[in-house]
């Protein structure tokens, strides 16, 4: 059943995703071409447009998926979705799995559009377009020199979590914001829940960030180091390491968001 759910998620959203991906690609390519002219004003406008395409594709994709999730779960099409003979949480997992795949694809597209943006703007930055490959190669070599084995293991799931965390928030807000107490607010319900969630998450994640664990270079390799970030913040000092205490915070928050959204799907559905 999950396979069929994902199949129909793909069929239903493909037009919408093609529009988002196509628009972002068009912006990045057109902007890069304008930037490549190096004409005053035109090139600067091109830079802005191409960066908008490259940077905007991931959040635009996430928002589009979230709107579709709300529409198909709790609005008109929800009258079909919520009568399917499966547990509500099964539908949620299918939507989340498809959404994750799409977000990963959007990140890959964003990297590609970023490369196009760089190439278009390379002249203005004092580079040749193909310098990109040597720069990426150098960055990769430097990274490989300092990255320990556990770093290679931890990086993919951490990056995946960061990439999909917005989706978890949006889906949570759409589900909880469509429950009985918010039912009369329409789109206002999810927006209100998202806003409250955003404020709460900022406080929680800042709290986690003060956990004295960071990423620094020790003995020529990346290593977990202990650093009292709270004291540094209070002293106004700049840390020489990257605080990563927020990562457990993200994990805990993600688990809570998923759990509460599952509760909503399984027992709190209330279509208007």
């Amino acid at each position: 059943m999950v396979g069929k759910l994902i199949k129909h998620e793909a069929i239903r959203t493909r037009g919408m995703l093609a529009t988002v991906f196509g628009a972002a690609t068009l912006l990045a390519v057109m902007g890069a071409l304008l930037a490549a002219t190096q004409w005053p004003v035109v090139a600067q406008f091109g830079l802005v447009v191409s960066v908008l395409g490259a940077v905007g594709v991931v959040p635009a994709t996430q928002l589009a998926l979230a709107f579709d999730y709300w529409q198909t779960g709790y609005r008109r099409i929800g009258y079909f979705t919520q009568t399917l003979p499966v547990k509500g949480s099964t539908i949620y997992w299918a939507k989340l799995a498809w959404g994750t795949l799409v977000v990963v694809a959007s990140v890959a597209l964003a990297l590609l559009l970023g490369a196009i943006t760089f190439m278009g703007n390379a002249g203005s930055l004092g580079h040749a377009p193909l310098d990109l490959f040597s720069m990426v190669g150098q960055w990769w070599t430097d990274m490989a020199a300092v990255m320990p084995w556990w770093g290679w293991m931890a990086a993919p799931p951490a990056l995946l979590l960061l990439a999909t965390f917005n989706l978890l928030q949006y889906y949570f807000a759409a589900s909880v914001g469509s429950e009985k107490r918010f039912g009369s607010l329409g789109l206002g319900g999810p927006v209100l829940v998202w806003f409250v969630l955003y404020v709460v998450l900022q406080i929680v994640l800042i709290g986690f960030m003060l956990i004295p664990i960071g990423l620094g270079v020790e003995g020529g390799a990346l290593a977990l180091v202990s650093e009292n970030y709270l004291a540094m913040v209070l002293d106004g000092a700049d840390p020489a390491t990257v605080p990563i205490g927020f990562l457990p915070g993200f994990l805990v928050a993600a688990a809570v968001l998923v759990w509460r959204t599952v509760v909503s799907w399984n027992g709190k559905v209330s279509l208007v």
């Binding site: 129909h8 009568t83 009985k180 009369s184």
Partner: protein, 236 residues
């Protein structure tokens, strides 16, 4: 598991301070076409939505098609809401695939027969159809499931009188005799000839229920006349 198609006890559903369903009790057996009657806002749609599993925030006990509300009941209950519930961009052929994939009791041949009966093409997109045409597609899909209980919410409202007759014929065309068909409507006159029983509601409660023939004989009037009389009583 009871022998009834629908067994509801003390069903209450509120919207803020308003009781849409007020400790409602209802038992309906299989093998009937039952009209769920009442004026706008009396709780008909809310009752059907609860029975279809779309309103989980209710109180009271509900058993439908021999199962409590959940995936098992949804597998045995076919619901037609009073909204267009399929994507506008979908073609009729895709809707058939959709139902075939998700409902084990979906009979595609029956659906194609109904689509043909309604004079629709499989290649048509829902977004290009009139309200009446979309309603026909949705009825063809809902009625082509071999369900134990069919819940139809206002299937003939908003369409012209000629189309109403065709829709009613389509609904009954392949109906299983051992199933329950519960149709909400305020267009009593159009549905009266096909009804075996009625449930009349007001203010979230059942006002009157019974077999159509018994009610006609007892009150010596048509159901349409009785409907008007019942609501004139309750209004006073």
């Amino acid at each position: 598991m009871t022998g009834n198609a629908i067994e509801v006890r003390g069903l209450t559903k509120t919207y803020g301070s308003l009781s849409a369903l007020d400790a409602l009790d209802l038992s309906l057996p299989y093998g009937q076409v039952v009209g769920l009657l009442g004026e706008n806002g009396c709780g008909k749609t809310t009752l059907l939505k609860v029975l279809a599993g779309l309103l989980q925030d209710h109180e009271g006990s509900v058993e439908i098609a021999g199962a409590p509300l959940g995936p098992e009941s949804k597998a045995r209950v076919s619901f037609l809401p009073d909204v267009s519930f399929l994507p506008d961009g979908a073609r009729v052929a895709y809707c058939l695939d959709l139902y075939g994939d998700f409902f084990a009791d979906f009979d595609r041949a029956r659906a194609e027969d109904l689509i043909g009966f309604f004079g629709l093409e499989r290649s048509m997109r829902l977004g290009q159809m009139s309200k009446g045409m979309r309603e026909k597609v949705q009825i063809a899909l809902a009625m082509s499931r071999k369900a134990r209980v069919y819940l139809l919410d206002e299937p003939i409202s908003g369409v012209d009188p000629a189309a109403r007759d065709v829709i009613v014929q389509g609904i009954l065309r392949n109906l299983r005799e051992d199933s329950l068909l519960l149709i909400s409507t305020h267009l009593v006159h159009d549905l009266e000839p096909v009804l075996d029983g009625v449930v009349m509601m007001r203010h979230g409660k059942v006002l009157l229920t019974g077999q159509v023939d018994d009610l006609r004989a007892r009150h010596n009037k048509s159901i349409d006349q009785l409907f008007k009389e019942v609501y004139s009583w309750s209004a006073n």
